[in-house]
Symmetry: C2
Subunit: 258 residues, 2 copies
């Protein structure tokens, strides 16, 4: 048994307010690490918010991994040997003339281990983001092998299979799920897809959604950590309140594929 505590911090990022989001996300990572989490997942675009008015607004929130917040997250991770996976609005160069990406970073106590740029852009994201050119990474960490996918990526079973074949024990999914109608008693559709991906690949999937409403867009607040058998270990139900979702997972189980 290799029990690991995983915490998803279901924040409500403030649109276009990087300073506020840096503070809130750093506080969230600190709280999760203090709570014993070895894997901490934050939402998609946690530093910027999601519903941009236009490309200029997106560009104004864009950062690189030189931004101080990556060091701050890394310092928190270093305290206990944790790993942090967090979404951010990335710019490619020193100014905002180049492409922007909807990215996620994997950070441990040594710093930024990998950056993944979302390959499957959803809807209006295509107006300001460029798609990533490479498949998502699996990072061998002290905790286990951590794969990354961002939101809509999850709906492509080739991508989750890729992560499984690359050896992922746990796939961290920073996400912003727009609330859609579903039949009574059903999980959000994205959770159903994650459950199937977890079970068919025998890997843990930790989806960190966001909460609240942003410029009229209601979010699902569907944060869910799913075990290797495909069943949700914890579910955060919508309630308008930020909150951490935590589960204990046995990553050794993910190496038994029969």
């Amino acid at each position: 048994m290799t029990m690991i505590r995983v915490t998803c911090c279901q924040l409500s990022p403030a649109i276009a307010d990087v300073a506020a989001n840096v503070a809130a996300s750093t506080a969230a990572v600190r709280r999760a690490v203090d709570g014993g989490a070895r894997v901490v997942v934050l939402p998609e675009l946690a530093t910027s918010g999601y519903v941009f008015a236009d490309r200029d607004e997106a560009a104004a929130t864009a950062i690189t991994t030189d931004h101080d917040v990556f060091s701050a997250w890394s310092r928190e991770a270093a305290r206990t040997g944790a790993v942090v996976i967090v979404g951010f609005c990335e710019r490619a160069g020193n100014d905002n003339a180049g492409p922007l990406y909807n990215s996620a970073a994997v950070i441990d106590g040594t710093g930024v281990r990998a950056v993944y740029r979302k390959t499957h852009l959803w809807d209006r994201e295509k107006l300001w983001f460029a798609p990533g050119a490479t498949l998502p990474p699996v990072v061998d960490t002290d905790v286990g092998r951590i794969g990354v996918a961002i939101c809509y990526d999850l709906e492509f079973p080739e991508l989750t299979r890729h992560l499984a074949l690359a050896g992922a024990d746990l796939v961290a999914v920073p996400t912003n799920w727009p609330l859609v109608a579903r039949p009574d008693g059903e999980h959000p559709p994205e959770v159903v897809i994650a459950m199937a991906a977890a079970r068919t690949n025998r890997m843990v999937i930790a989806c960190c959604d966001r909460d609240g409403t942003e410029r009229g867009q209601r979010w699902t607040a569907g944060t869910t950590i799913i075990g290797v058998d495909g069943w949700p270990l914890t579910v955060h139900r919508p309630g308008g309140v930020d909150g951490d979702v935590t589960a204990e997972v046995d990553l050794a189980q993910t190496r038994v594929k029969r």
Copy 2:
């Protein structure tokens, strides 16, 4: 709108009693067609039962598509232009010395349109069946484009994606799902996987499970027809009673993939 009635006949085949299963399956197809079904799905190994004692017993139930039952099913289908998908224990040649297959046939009023030999054999199936060598077909019928998968095949997202890319509007899944524990309120795990496959590929999936207990093996009786949005349209709950599960589906929706 192209509404089509789909009926899954959740039978309880009698182990190794081909004559009884031929009679019961033909009666089931007749009943479904009389009820207006244009697509009729029967379970995996509907002519033979599943829990064989040994290869000899499996071989004794094996038939080819020359067997009279295929003509009987075709005659029923011909009455209204229906399509029947049914699992059977197939032998490759005129005697039982050659390989046996866990197969499914697609039958319409003109006869047998295709035979698919299960490629992903489960557990003890490998003791008597040979795996099929080719991917499952998609058959262009008067009703729509019908793909086939058998039971465990469904758990390989590459296979359902293959069927979607080959143009399937509806995937018929003859199945025998062994009952497994699941959390309260959850669908059977195979249904979760089918829901994800239906939604990510926008196609209808009609899973015809079986009922009852066979040589100690309790079945899930999980027959479910799933729409293009991934939600179950109908569910047959376990109750020990055979029964038909019917849904009306709009196959034109499956051609809209955005």
